[in-house]
Symmetry: C2
Subunit: 330 residues, 2 copies
C-alpha cells in the first residue's frame, strides 16, 4: 500500500466499526493524510477531511476502507465513492471478507484506470503445512483470554518499546487491521485450515539471533469458534515469549455464551501449547485492558493480577510496556 492514505469511514456510527482506520491513524499517523466520511457518519478521527479528488490533489496514493462490519461486506451505497477514488488516481485497499475485486463496478473501474485494488484479507499466495523446524531469531506472540482484548495493540506497543531501546524488532500482522498498519502480513483466519501453522512459519522467517519478531495474536485457546486458528498460530510462531492479554471486567466471551477463562489456566494452557514447538516458551507479562474500568479500581486490579501470576502487569496505554520489556530482555 502506497502512502499517504485517505481513510474511508463510510457512514458508520460507532467508533468500534472504524477500528481499522483508527488503528492505522494511531500507529502510522505519518502515513495518513485525511479521512473521508459519507453523510450520516458520526465517527471522527480528528484529522483533515477530504474527498477523494481533494486527497489526490494533496498527494494521497491509496484510499483505505477503514471500517469493519458484521459479515465483512461492502454496502452498495459505498461503491460510487470507491469508483470515484480509482478515477481520481488513488489505489484502493480493504480487508473485508467480501472482495473489492469481485464487485463489477469496482473491477471495471480498476481495469479502466489501471489502479491497484488490494483485498488484504485474502492471502495472495499459497502456503505449505507447518514444518515445526526451529528458526533462528527470537519471537514474541500475544495471546489472550478472548478476541478483541488488546493483542494487536500490545504487540504494536512492544514493537515500539523494543525499537526505542535499540532492539531490532518487527511487528508481524495476522489480521486485516494489522496488515493495514504494517503494510504486510497474513490474515491467518483466512488461510486454508491445513496451512495455519505453515502460514505462521512463513510470517516470521529466520532472522538474526538478537532480532525479535513481535507477532499479533488471534482469538483465544478457549474460544469455541476460533481456538483452532489460535493453536495453529502458536505452533507456527514457536514463540520464545508470550504476553497474555486480558480484560478484567469482561465476564463472557464477546458475543458468546461462554465465560472468560481463568487467567492462571489461560497462562498454563498457552505455555503448554507453545512448548510443543519451543520448549523454552514462557510468559513474560500480562497486558491488562483497563479501558472500561473505573480509574479508582485499576491499581488494585493490577496488583491482584501480579500477585496471582507473579508476572509484570500493565495496561500499555496507561502504563506503557517497560516492565514487561525488562523481563523479556533479562
Amino acid at each position: 500500500m502506497q502512502a499517504p492514505y485517505l481513510l474511508f469511514l463510510g457512514d458508520v456510527e460507532e467508533f468500534s466499526a472504524a477500528k481499522t482506520a483508527a488503528g492505522v491513524n494511531q500507529w502510522r499517523r505519518e502515513r495518513v493524510l485525511a479521512q473521508h466520511r459519507l453523510p450520516g457518519c458520526t465517527v471522527d478521527l480528528g484529522i483533515a477531511e477530504m474527498t477523494p479528488a481533494e486527497a489526490a490533489r494533496a498527494g494521497a496514493r491509496t484510499m483505505i476502507v477503514g471500517v469493519v462490519n458484521v459479515g465483512g461486506f461492502i454496502p452498495e451505497h459505498w461503491v460510487a465513492t470507491m469508483v470515484d477514488a480509482l478515477e481520481q488516481g488513488l489505489d484502493l485497499a480493504a480487508g473485508m471478507h467480501q472482495r473489492l475485486n469481485d464487485i463489477p463496478a469496482i473491477a471495471e473501474a480498476r481495469d479502466r484506470t489501471g489502479r491497484a485494488v488490494l483485498d488484504l484479507r485474502q492471502p495472495d499466495r499459497g502456503f505449505l503445512p507447518g514444518s515445526g523446524r526451529k528458526r533462528s531469531g527470537k519471537r514474541l506472540l500475544t495471546v489472550g483470554t478472548d478476541c478483541a482484548v488488546g493483542k494487536k495493540y500490545t504487540a504494536l506497543a512492544l514493537e515500539a518499546g523494543l525499537r526505542a531501546r535499540g532492539v531490532d524488532a518487527d511487528f508481524r500482522a495476522t489480521g486485516q487491521t494489522g496488515i493495514m498498519i504494517s503494510g504486510r502480513g497474513v490474515a491467518i483466519d483466512s488461510v486454508i485450515a491445513d496451512f495455519i501453522s505453515g502460514a505462521a512459519e512463513w510470517l516470521s522467517p529466520d532472522a538474526a539471533p538478537d532480532h525479535w519478531d513481535v507477532i499479533e495474536g488471534q482469538g483465544s485457546l478457549f474460544h469455541p469458534a476460533y481456538a483452532g486458528v489460535t493453536l495453529g498460530l502458536i505452533h507456527g510462531s514457536q514463540p520464545d515469549a508470550l504476553v497474555v492479554c486480558h480484560e478484567p471486567v469482561r465476564t463472557h466471551l464477546l458475543g458468546f455464551d461462554y465465560g472468560v477463562p481463568d487467567l492462571r489456566r489461560c497462562i498454563d494452557m498457552n505455555v503448554a501449547a507453545a512448548q510443543l514447538t519451543n520448549p523454552e516458551a514462557r510468559v513474560v507479562g500480562i497486558s491488562v485492558n483497563t479501558s472500561r474500568m473505573e480509574p479508582a479500581a485499576i491499581d488494585a486490579a493490577i496488583r491482584d493480577i501480579e500477585a496471582q501470576t507473579g508476572l509484570p502487569c500493565s495496561d500499555p496505554i496507561r502504563h506503557g510496556v517497560d516492565r514487561i520489556l525488562d523481563v523479556l530482555l533479562n
Copy 2:
C-alpha cells in the same frame, strides 16, 4: 457419487498410496465393481480388473481416483485415462488438492460429455464460524496421538458396531477417503481457518436423542502442523465420547522430528479441549493399531495400556470394538 465404482489406481507402487481405493473397497465393497491400473502399478486390491470401457458396459457409474500422493496433484500421464472414463459415460471423482475441474482436458471432456466431475476435497459450500450452541443427539469423535494412526478405521468400525447392536448411528467423514466411503462429509482441513469449528458443527447437526454421530478425527493436538484443525474439529464436534487412537510402536510423528505424545497426556489434553463445548466429554476407550507389531507382543501391550489408562483397549481389526461399545452405551 453414483455406484457402482471403478477404482483407478494409476501406476502407484505402494499400498499406502492407494489408501483411498483400499478404504472404499474395504468399507463399501458392495458399491465397488472393479479396479483399473496403468502399466507399472504394483498394487492390487484383489478385485476384477476393467478398463473404463469395460466397466461402463458392466454398469459402472463413477471412476474414483483412489490414490494419494505428496502434494495431491494429478500426474499428466493419468489425464488421458480420465478423459476416456468421461467419454465412456462415467462420472469422475477425486480428493486431491489439485482440482480435476482445473485441468483443461478434463474440463473440456466434462463439458462435451455432460458427465459430472467431483472434486471432493474442496468444500462445495461456505461455512459460518462456530456458534458453540449445544446440539441434540450424541456424538463420538476419534482422536489420536498422530496422523494415520487409525482414526477413520476406528470410526467406521464403531459405526458398524453400533448399527449391529440396533443403535442408530452415522459415520461423519472429515477427510477425502472418508467422504468417498460415506458419499458425503467435509474435508475439514480444506475449509478456511475461521470456519473449522463451524464446519464441524454443520457436519453433525441436531439429531434424535439416542442417535450417535461417529465423527472421523483428523491430525493430533500434538502435531506441529495440524493441531489447529484437530482443536477446531473437537470444539465443533462437541463430543460426548472420545476414542483415542494410538500405535504403540511408533516413536515419532510420521514424517516429523517430533516424538509421539505420552498416551496419558494425550487423553488429558483431548478431554480438556473437548470439555470447552461439552463438559460431559469423556474418553471411552483406546483403539490400538497393532498392524506393525509382532503377534507375540500384542497382548502384553494391550494389557499395559489398559493398566495405564483404566480404559478398554482393542485393535478394531483384531479384536473388534465390542468392549469399547460396552463402555460407550453404559
